[in-house]
Symmetry: C2
Subunit: 323 residues, 2 copies
């Protein structure tokens, strides 16, 4: 394919001016894990930190994408620009299956002030987290006011990804019994705001009540999430949901918690990305280092214990880094 | 506490003879991440690999512990010895809240041929995976025929832990809508056997039917899990569940898949444990290495980009390993 490769300078200028083709090209470079993409992130980083980032999580099938679509339309009506980054393999954003969607997410694709990108989730998990963080930074630098990060509420790298946003919106629906149990058992972290979607369902109010009684156990009132009923397809409850998200954000900022959270998020990200790079090295050593391979085969034969192989692998990674 | 510290040799002999106090002591050493614990695992490792290991996973509240208790009783009646290792923070095994449990799990604590141990889950996640693997090896070396590993089906380290067993039993109940959606979306891996617990619930059969229709989409018939209805409190369906688990295991063994799976599990464990050690080093460097600390603070101020900090952190870990 004949493609005009713009210079780094042109790309940086394009991103900062909000040019969507420059942004798309930069994200492609980042997804391909190129040095060029890394360099772009480095250069635009001082211009990041302005966007309000909102993670939208929850089990598949609850209507996360539709809700993000409805929120996007509402936020656009308020005159703000929007970015949507999806790392949910079951999302219509990811599958590109937009035609059948009743709220016509496709409209947003044509709006120059909305940028939508889904991350390929079938590759390396570690690389995905890194590419997603870099994509968020690029979209932020391009001047979007609000960025929604859609993730499915399960799995390792999604957990890492959700740690990079200012606020978390958990979406549930009637029948989300497992998530309610996980909240109750303290296994799922309490989010900032909870939307119980599909409010027309006869069990929606009961579910909202159940969730309300669980979060009421949180002794710190400031940390108790707002719980709202929505019907994403029609947009019912969406303005109220946005008000709740803004109010929570303002409260976090006022208490100095937003800055603290961002600081902690950045630290956790630096750690996660370093670990993800070390993991890639470990994988390579397991495939290529003959000594490590022999030991691992020995483990399978119960001749070498796993801890000896682990120690050799750690050493191989270190040696690999050293050279 | 005045405790007679047995020698390594005595502990090794004790473990291999199935002495529960020796086993308990060894697991405590392993949980405390001591060199002595590691050495014990090394020494007994050649005697492992005999136990049939079964991971029991699923959302909280579905009755995993009660089902493990019922399976334990059934397997004991068949003359087999049993180990139970729990890494579920919401499990009654973990909380020690056994008195209220109607099937009286406590009985098993008094049976010399049943060994029950729950892992502390509030510490480092990486360390937990390592300690759990080592505990499984120790219980295996102690001669238990069947080992149940109870985990909750969410979160990072549980994912690593469940990768170390021969077979996975997923427990659901009516209302487990999120898990069903996750199976449908291909986000949750298809297990070997599925138990729909609480069969007295009016929706149990509907849920089993729904799950059946999802797994029917798997083109390889051999990989379609058996789906059984159980009522763990009364033990209904438990003998049938055990038959299904044994049949699946026999089929795996016949096709050579059991050995292949064990080999892959061991490889994945070696990698996961190496990564977990590298993560501990990274955490230490973030706290102690002045250069890394400065960079991370700079990231928070948008003065240093995260990728520069990541590179420095990786380097610090490597330097730390080297010295």
């Amino acid at each position: 394919m004949a493609r005009h490769d713009r210079t780094q300078d042109e790309l940086v200028t394009g991103i900062l001016e909000g040019d969507r083709r420059a942004l798309a090209r930069a994200i492609t470079l980042v997804e391909a894990r190129t040095r060029e993409g890394e360099e772009l992130v480095r250069r635009v980083y001082p211009r990041t930190g302005r966007a309000a980032t909102i993670g939208v999580t929850g089990p598949p099938g609850v209507g996360k994408s539709t809700l993000v679509g409805a929120l996007t339309r509402h936020v656009r009506d308020l005159g703000k620009t929007v970015g949507v980054v999806s790392v949910d393999p079951s999302s219509p954003f990811t599958r590109g299956a937009l035609l059948g969607d009743r709220i016509r997410l496709a409209d947003h694709f044509l709006d120059p002030d909305v940028y939508i990108r889904s991350m390929g989730t079938r590759g390396h998990l570690g690389g995905l987290a890194e590419a997603t963080l870099e994509t968020l930074l690029l979209v932020d630098a391009s001047g979007k006011d609000v960025i929604f990060l859609e993730t499915v509420g399960t799995g390792q790298s999604e957990v890492e990804v959700i740690g990079s946003v200012d606020q978390v919106l958990l979406v549930l629906m009637p029948g989300s019994g497992d998530s309610v149990q996980a909240l109750k058992a303290g296994i799922m972290e309490i989010p900032d705001v909870i939307a119980v979607n599909k409010l027309d369902h006869p069990a929606a109010r009961t579910m909202a009540q159940e969730v309300r009684s669980i979060v009421a156990l949180e002794p710190d009132r400031d940390r108790r999430p707002a719980i709202l009923l929505t019907e994403a397809v029609r947009g019912d409850g969406v303005p109220e949901l946005w008000v709740a998200l803004e109010a929570r954000r303002a409260a976090l900022a006022e208490r100095g918690e937003l800055d603290e959270r961002r600081r902690r998020n950045l630290e956790a990200e630096v750690e996660a990305l370093a670990v993800s790079r070390l993991r890639e090295h470990a994988r390579r050593a397991m495939g290529e280092d003959a000594h490590v391979r022999d030991l691992v085969v020995g483990v399978g034969r119960r001749e070498v214990d796993p801890l000896t192989a682990v120690a050799a692998l750690v050493e191989a990674v270190v040696a690999g880094e050293r050279s």
